[in-house]
């Protein structure tokens, strides 16, 4: 609770910086529009203005500053424009409309969740295999670690095209990319977690004559929960990035990635920013939800 005030101050400072940055970013566009509308602009011709630095333009035309926060297609939209667009496209439209961010968000979210479920499921299975079998540990684990240093996302366009050519489309290709991105963090985190019981605890189970399966269910899996949740949080953020990037190369018509792409084609900056913030809110909500589940589970287990 102590950090509420500092966080608010930092956020306010960032928003203030954003408003300040919007002035020099947009001033040229505003002055061009003002000139076309017949208003008084210093210097008067566009060619002359191109010679000047943005700061001199701001100082010479102080009257243009409010207009830089209210342009139709600004280079950098002001925070309230993005907030208005977000509100307009979530609450203002019916959720089945093609222009509703809720609709696009759901398209991305469903692929994210499906991929996340597949990725974490397979990841946990592989981690159990690695911990139980020495051969798998020695042969697979180094590759799992190396694969974390590879920009796996480069595979995204290919996965989509390959799956398309065998007749799979829609949600599945995006989910495959999501699964792929969340898979390795979960494997590495889970292996660490399943190995976290110390020698004393393992010895105790041995004195009980516990089988390997009993050791897994009664000691290793419960002990791995904190590690599991830490890697789940990384995994879901990676899944969301995967689903968004998966929408880029196909020219998808729905989803947050498609909104980003369409916005960048048509110069709709406000639309790009609102899609970006929708993605950020989604990511924050997913990570926050996992954090809540983590707290409940760990408290129920008496760990935290």
């Amino acid at each position: 609770m102590k950090s509420v005030l500092p966080v608010l101050v930092v956020v306010a400072a960032l928003i203030g910086l954003w408003y300040a940055a919007a002035v020099p970013m947009n001033v040229r566009g505003v002055l061009d529009e003002a000139e076309r509308a017949g208003a008084e602009v210093v210097p008067a011709s566009g060619a002359e203005r191109r010679e000047r630095a943005v700061w001199t333009l701001v100082v010479r035309n102080p009257g243009a500053i409010p207009a830089t926060w209210a342009q139709e297609r600004p280079r950098l939209p002001a925070p309230h424009q993005v907030a208005a667009e977000l509100w307009d496209t979530t609450a203002g439209k019916s959720i089945t409309s093609k222009r509703s961010l809720v609709y696009h968000g759901w398209v991305t979210l469903s692929a994210t969740l499906l991929g996340f479920a597949i990725g974490t499921g397979l990841g946990i299975l592989l981690a159990v295999g690695i911990v139980q079998s020495k051969v798998m540990d020695m042969s697979v684990m180094p590759w799992a670690i190396v694969s974390q240093t590879i920009p796996i996302i480069a595979l995204a366009p290919m996965i989509i095209v390959v799956l398309y050519s065998v007749g799979v489309q829609g949600i599945i290709p995006k989910a495959v990319i999501s699964a792929y991105l969340s898979f390795f963090p979960v494997v590495v985190g889970m292996v660490k977690g399943l190995r976290s019981p110390d020698a004393m605890q393992l010895d105790l189970l041995r004195t009980y004559n516990a089988s390997a399966a009993q050791g897994l269910w009664k000691l290793r899996l419960p002990a791995s929960m904190p590690y599991l949740f830490a890697s789940l949080k990384i995994g879901i953020a990676a899944s969301l990035v995967g689903a968004i990037v998966g929408e880029l190369p196909t020219g998808a018509v729905a989803g947050l990635g498609a909104r980003l792409l369409a916005g960048s084609y048509y110069g709709q900056t406000v639309q790009i920013w609102s899609a970006l913030f929708a993605a950020a809110i989604l990511a924050a909500a997913l990570v926050g939800l996992l954090g809540l589940i983590e707290r409940l589970v760990l408290r129920r287990m008496g760990v935290a």
């Binding site: 930092v10 240093t149 996302i153 960048s264």
Partner: protein, 281 residues
């Protein structure tokens, strides 16, 4: 069918060999630790090759490793130009700028307790967001060439490095700081001799995370527009022409670049934080 059967036999053989080594008396030796993953990797490649040939998988779905290797060998100039554009100009420039800015910001933030308590949660929050999404905006601002890619990389690596550095600079104990004070150390003496070295494991953790992010940022930013070269451009263009061997060749280059980049940062870490328990094991 012969080739498929051969693939299965080879798989069994490789597994048996690894089983023998892993369960054998020399399982902990360095050679065994190196040999087992290498055998596994080689078997996977061989099985891939045999299955693709045996089942006559079309090129559009999965090219054989030999075909990919031939493509890599055959188009080295293109791959090298793409590598320079995306990795050296885009990713590396952005990485250096972003990490330097993040570490300097962290040092500034660290001077005020109020700022630190505000920046840490905000930074942690932003580090979890899909920052790749800023790519279309930055491409619009900085043009199609490598500058916009470097800008995306800066945005991506900044927050993970910032958060790790700020956390690392808090790592000293009160006892250590008191000792420095009894020596009458100035702020900067304490900083360079105690707090910065103590923060190094954390900083390098951030730097290592940032290596992968840098490559991802540079490649994905090219999907939003680029000059007619670069790894991301080549991948999306080749996917469009269905020449998947070229895509795989770029992925091989990206994987190598990512691994070597990470390895180099890890090497520097080893030299700088030689005193840390995790490096002495």
């Amino acid at each position: 069918m012969m080739l498929v059967a051969l693939a299965l036999v080879l798989w069994g053989l490789g597994w048996w060999l690894n089983l023998r080594i892993a369960e054998g008396p020399h399982a902990q030796s360095r050679a065994a630790r190196l040999a087992v993953p290498l055998i596994f990797g080689a078997v996977v490649l061989a099985v891939w090759e045999l299955l693709v040939r045996g089942l006559q998988v079309p090129l559009v779905i999965l090219p054989a490793p030999s075909l990919i290797a031939a493509r890599v060998a055959g188009s080295l100039p293109i791959l090298w130009a793409d590598f320079l554009q995306t990795f050296v100009k885009g990713a590396l420039t952005g990485y250096v700028i972003g990490c330097t800015a993040a570490i300097l910001t962290a040092v500034l933030v660290d001077r005020s307790d109020f700022l630190r308590r505000g920046v840490l949660p905000v930074g942690n929050f932003v580090a979890a967001l899909p920052i790749v999404g800023t790519a279309p905006i930055l491409v619009m601002w900085f043009g199609f060439d490598w500058q916009s890619k470097a800008a995306v990389v800066v945005a991506m690596v900044f927050f993970p490095v910032l958060v790790n550095t700020v956390a690392g600079l808090r790592e000293t104990t009160a006892m250590q700081r008191d000792l420095m004070r009894t020596y009458a150390a100035s702020y900067w003496q304490e900083f360079f001799k105690l707090r910065l070295p103590a923060a190094m494991p954390f900083i390098f953790n951030g730097l290592k995370i940032a290596t992968t992010l840098a490559l991802v940022g540079a490649i994905v930013a090219e999907f939003f527009g680029s000059p007619t070269l670069g790894m991301g451009f080549r991948i999306s263009a080749s996917v469009g022409q269905l020449s998947l061997d070229m895509v795989w060749a770029e992925i091989v280059v990206a994987a190598l670049a990512g691994t070597v980049f990470y390895g180099l940062v890890a090497l520097v870490e080893k030299a700088v934080t030689f005193w840390h328990p995790s490096q002495r094991g």
